[in-house]
Point group: C2
Chain length 195, copies 2
Amino acid sequence: MNENVRIRSYHHGDLRNALRQAARNILEEEGLGALTLRAVARKAGVSHAAPYRHFPNHEALLVELAMEGFTELREEIVAAGTGPGLVADRVSDIGGAYMRFVARRPALARLMFGAQLPNRDSFPQLGSAADSIGNEIGTALGDTALGLAVWAAVHGLAMLVLEDVIDLGQRRSGLDVLPSRAEILLRSLFSLPQK
Amino acid sequence: MNENVRIRSYHHGDLRNALRQAARNILEEEGLGALTLRAVARKAGVSHAAPYRHFPNHEALLVELAMEGFTELREEIVAAGTGPGLVADRVSDIGGAYMRFVARRPALARLMFGAQLPNRDSFPQLGSAADSIGNEIGTALGDTALGLAVWAAVHGLAMLVLEDVIDLGQRRSGLDVLPSRAEILLRSLFSLPQK
DNA sequence: GTACGGATCTTGGCAGTATCTACATCGGTG
DNA sequence: CACCGATGTAGATACTGCCAAGATCCGTAC
């Protein structure tokens, strides 16, 4: 009945959320490769099989985290795309928001856009969450085709830097300069004047 | 002294190449997740530890395959970008070549552009191979900044479809229609008339 | 020709992982 | 207040990457 759930008893009381939080921490601090079910269980202080009472398998936990990521990304795109400016400016605003998300949560972005997740057919909720990203970009720009073009360009630059395929400058990881480079890229692509 | 190496003896004779071929087959037929060292060894008909005589670890085998992929992709980009046409047409030619590569070797593309490979700092050869992709696109188009923009747009569309984030039509996997969609995208992005 | 040394391959083992089954414990309900 | 389903634990299986020790073979020096 109270918010402060007991801990250290046989039954955890709020293990599902504890597991999600532990998983988020591991993902951010140690990366996607360290995100094993057993590591999550250890971090939550439960036995190695306890997570199976709340997630049918490893994949389901990854889906849960990815879904949160898509929700968060969608909100930031909406916030960036509802300004009163010209459509042309929203292109770079949305692109910047996308890049800032990837730069702030690189491991989560890897999970969301990598090959670790199940097929969109076998997990329709994931497909819908991903679709909503495209829809928000399209409606913010008032043009579905333009939205896809912007999404592809922004996503491509983000992935090339995130996966270390290209090296933007000598900064720590290239992620630091990603948002500003994104703006340059988009203004170049869509023939807008550079600021 | 002859090309037909003996097989079925204690020493294989050409195990390194046999392992690479087995790895390529597994990657294409069963996907990146099935590409374990032990599976490669089984397919090559040797014991589970034999691959360690030719590759220091699992990662090194992945790097080898990825390097081949980058070489192949670079060649196709060069071939598509050396035509006598206008620069504007080369944009869609190169984009189409990139998309056809991804559509033809989806699992290899996942490996090349995914998170399974080591850092470009810890494996400089990989970084160089990736750089050469960007360089070829840039020189074919005669403009480094334009090359990066085209690369990002094409790569982004390819990855969104490859990783099942967006769904291009109702075809088998979306990969089928990728090349034609790429052309539409690029002509839209760069304000070229649609064919 | 032959003994040897190094390269190659096998066997066996360790640690870590996902997943399953059987069992222990607890909390809410009849 | 007893019981029953939900939750957590312990243990086992089948994988994986990787390492160590031994077996085999090939080319080379003598």
